[in-house]
Symmetry: C2
């Protein structure tokens, strides 16, 4: 399987889906609608909707009900980047080589565009009630989406990350918390919502969550490893930024060798979990393996 090609094909399909779900850029509030479009279409790997869709397919999901949730989770991911980039947060002018939303539209519109995307994510997901009124799992999926995005999910991780910046008292407990929530929670939510909507059993959902948790953690640790071992040419961003920013990472706590071992162990654990299921999705397993062992 040419995994990079397969990923690219799916990412393009998801790009089209996102554009179709975004509201039209018209009306008196069109500035914020343009800012929403700008931030969502600025690129990205589309991992969260891709993981959701593949997990949905794995459990035999065939209806379109997963689509509004795929759009919603990417809108939530995007709003979090828009707010993260704000001057009062990371103060980034560029992301993936493009101007950040507040750099183009101004700070007030950056805040409002993030708010609008977050609201629109829930509006999009809740739209599934109208189109699939008899689907038994839409409410449950919406609750998972909110939990994984909020103060016990992504936002909780962002808060501890912001508070830990430049502080000498980073602990392993805090680092694990940030890794588990800031990125891990939405990845977990993505796979769990896919499984739920396809009608997976409680036991199957537990297995998916377990695998997704290991993937999320390994994904973060790999990020730390690449910041030390990667080359700027391949990564497309400067390396050594964590050390320069005196940022505590998994690598600074455990050393590079242990970090690599742990990524390998988490990967094997995640894949073993997925392989323990009676249903199969070869692409999904390859995608997980690729995500974790990626070199950029």
């Amino acid at each position: 399987m040419d995994i990079e090609r397969e990923i690219r094909v799916r990412a393009e399909e998801i790009d089209a889906l996102l554009s179709a779900y975004l509201p039209p850029e018209e009306g008196l509030q069109r500035t914020v609608l343009s800012a929403m479009h700008y931030s969502v279409t600025a690129g990205g790997k589309r991992l969260r909707p891709m993981l959701m869709q593949e997990t949905y397919r794995m459990f035999g999901g065939r209806e379109g009900v997963v689509e509004p949730f795929m759009a919603a989770i990417e809108f939530i991911h995007t709003y979090s980047l828009v707010h993260d980039d704000l001057p009062a947060m990371d103060n980034d002018e560029y992301r993936r080589g493009k101007k950040t939303t507040h750099a183009v539209y101004g700070e007030a519109m950056g805040i409002l565009a993030g708010d609008a995307l977050l609201n629109y994510a829930y509006e999009t997901a809740a739209g599934a009630f109208e189109r699939w009124p008899d689907h038994p799992r839409v409410g449950q999926a919406l609750l998972v989406l909110a939990k994984k995005s909020g103060v016990y999910g992504m936002v909780g991780g962002q808060v501890v990350d912001v508070e830990s910046e430049g502080c000498a008292d980073m602990t392993r407990e805090k680092l694990d918390f940030i890794y588990r929530l800031k990125t891990g929670a939405l990845l977990e939510g993505a796979m769990l919502i896919g499984a739920l909507l396809a009608g997976a059993s409680e036991q199957e959902c537990r297995t998916v969550r377990e695998a997704a948790g290991a993937v999320g953690l390994a994904f973060q640790i790999q990020d730390d490893i690449l910041d030390v071992t990667g080359t700027p040419e391949v990564l497309g961003k400067p390396i050594g930024s964590d050390e320069k920013n005196q940022k505590s990472t998994y690598v600074s706590f455990e050393g590079i060798e242990k970090a690599k071992e742990d990524v390998a162990a988490l990967t094997e654990h995640a894949i073993a979990q997925m392989n323990s299921l009676t249903v199969k999705n070869e692409f999904l397993v390859e995608l997980l393996r690729y995500l974790i062992s990626r070199e950029k």
Copy 2:
């Protein structure tokens, strides 16, 4: 009926309900949880949950299913104030005589506390699926909540308001848009969700929406009138701020006499709508009348 006393009693009950729905201030992310508590318990008239509850009661609603939605709509109202007060937006250090959230917790935490409240609003509302799995209208109510809060509701109004600040090209069309959406949308959403959850018919929902729309508009116009005719002692804030800030208001477009006439006409229209229903809630009608004719 001693309407002010009745309102006070209900507001206190709603304060208790909000405290019960707020997440506990514990865990590594406790700073943001404290900021959420701080902003929600900083006071406020609790109009939106009150209107929702009274409309629910009016249509014979007896279950607790309205309660998570009452909490959710007040969390959304609160997040919007927290973000509105940010330095990049209105840059307010005080609200209702208390320090604003970002003034106490810093700007980054102000952004994240708003985000957390917005997410938690949906988490709270979606929690109704678990507790009332057989209620037929929870999904519909959630969709109304999202629509009225987002880019075609409150956020849309905020955007046009922010863009119009200090601009000479305010038009009646823009002013109506801001009034209808920035404040009106959530008031409308509040009453509509109350009606929906109580099982009101489509026709009844239309009537409630019509009344709520008139109330929202009259409420805003009355605000403009009080900025001209009120006394700082009664209002608890300086008067003449709109003129000082060269802000276009309903009064500057229509003149004070026409504005007063329109408030009276909108009030009568709203109350006539409510009285056209076969169900009655005397307190709700008095509340609407009070809101519109208030002197502070």
